[in-house]
């Protein structure tokens, strides 16, 4: 302690890139299942609208499509306060470090939804000799659900949210649309 510079205080714990996940306080499956349902019914997305898909994400949070019916209306601008990263738009190489940094700042359990063709695979901007985009955000961070479309309708985003909830809790909670594919 005495050797530390009095102006800058460095943290004592080692700073390596590993993620430290604490074991659950109560390791009973039934309790964890209930907690999973609570988390799924109240996901807090982060506002990470990059391009056109961001507008459909905004439309999904407005009164007509109303994502708050399914619990996910608390959009937070800071990753430290959110648990669902909706990557809405094209990820360029210039912004790739920021995407990874934001993902790393999110506390676990965290989920990623790739919204739109650009976030899935580069979309319409994938061509021979392309020099600027990352062909799919899953090249940078792990993705849980992919929602295709250019841009996908807000209903598709809602369906993607249902898939995340299904991934978290093991079952689907909302009725399927009439005529939906299995």
């Amino acid at each position: 302690m005495a050797t530390q510079d009095p102006v800058i205080v460095l943290p004592d714990m080692p700073m390596d890139a590993g993620v430290h996940i604490a074991p659950p306080v109560i390791a009973i499956k039934a309790v964890q299942d209930v907690l999973d349902i609570c988390r799924a019914m109240s996901l807090w997305p982060m506002t990470f609208g990059l391009a056109c898909c961001a507008i459909e994400m905004m439309a999904a949070s407005m009164a007509r499509f109303d994502i708050s019916r399914f619990g996910a209306e608390v959009f937070r601008p800071s990753p430290r306060q959110s648990d669902l990263l909706i990557v809405a738009g094209t990820v360029t190489k210039k912004i790739a470090p920021a995407v990874v940094r934001l993902y790393e700042q999110m506390p676990a359990p965290r989920f990623v939804l790739a919204l739109g063709n650009c976030a899935i695979s580069g979309g319409p901007f994938k061509f021979e000799n392309q020099y600027g985009i990352v062909e799919g955000v899953d090249q940078l961070i792990p993705v849980d659900v992919y929602v295709p479309g250019c841009p996908p309708r807000p209903e598709a985003l809602l369906e993607g949210l249902f898939q995340i909830q299904e991934k978290m809790t093991g079952r689907r909670w909302w009725p399927k649309a009439e005529g939906a594919l299995e």
Binding site: V7, G49, L50, C52, A59, A63, K94, Y131, G132
Partner: protein, 387 residues
Amino acid sequence: MAYEEFGLTEGDFYSRNFQKGMREDTMILNLGPQHPATHGVLRVIVELDGEYVIRAEPVIGYLHRMHEKMAEGRTITQYLPNMGRVDYGHALGWNGALVGAVERLAGFEVPERAEYIRVITTELNRITSHLLWWGAFTLDLGAITPIMYAFDDREQMLDILQMATGSRLTHSSFRFGGVCTDLSDRFIETCKAFVPHMRDRLPMYRGLVTDNVILRKRLEGVGIFDADLCRRYGASGPVVRGSGIDYDVRRAEPYSVYDRFDWKVPVYPAGDSMARYLVRMDEMEQSLNIIEQALASLPAGKIMMPKAPKVTWALPKGESYFATEGARGKVGVHLVSDGGKFPYKIKLRSPCYCNLSAFAEAARGLLLADALAILGSLDLVIPEIDR
């Protein structure tokens, strides 16, 4: 420099570049590229003396999607959907610029009915774009209600536009020599009923938001753009019309059938953010006038020219430039072709790019909150800036 003394290498290339001209007593703040109030992936580095902006530098390129490189590797017909992605807010304005440049180069004549359809859908798109701007801008300023109303009206219009263009957002319904689908009776009926409904909503927006004393205090006198600044940076659209200059591409370089309708170009002299705001609110009303008149006098006929080009059609040799009035300003497409399969070069002239380049000079000496009000009043759409 304080940072180097402690051996810390803060920031990245752009913030280190910005630090070079820094004063001793100021702070550098980095806004974005992920930020709720920068309307997309825009980064602004500001040097602050307390709350006052001494120097600002927008850093762009975080959504550079290589549109100009793609143009050199696709046939011109394959390139048309790119226009919807350049500016998703007013996709049909960019559609119009590209088809206009091609039709100008190739000498195509567009049938009258197709021109009317183009005008109706472009003006509907302009209103949806202004509503999106209005909701997002007031949200930045702290008003959470207007965006709900804006999106309500916008959803009704997106349903109408979907009948005519097939999509909600990134429209690509223009074709070289016409448009892709005709207007159905249901479209005409719904659109005719919608115009008076929207007209009734606008006074409510005025009473709720425009005349609101808080909004006026935030916007009046903030971010004056004078005519000389507009010319030095090439600003256009509501930015110059809010500075007292009567310049609208639909009147300056007439195209399509706008000259057949009776509509005004709103111009406000103050040059501040409030003037730019009022210009856009008035433009919504003028667009409704145009749509109403166009629907009333819609001619019968074909929607594509005879012998329309196929997907593999190659442009003739030559160079052409076409400008349209987008919701954000003067959209330009500069097309150069050597007669080969792909265009030789396409340069996209984006209005937001030029409007944003004037931000650094206009924001000097203002409070940071005012600088963000200026950013909102410029109506930026980042994919258009970065192309």
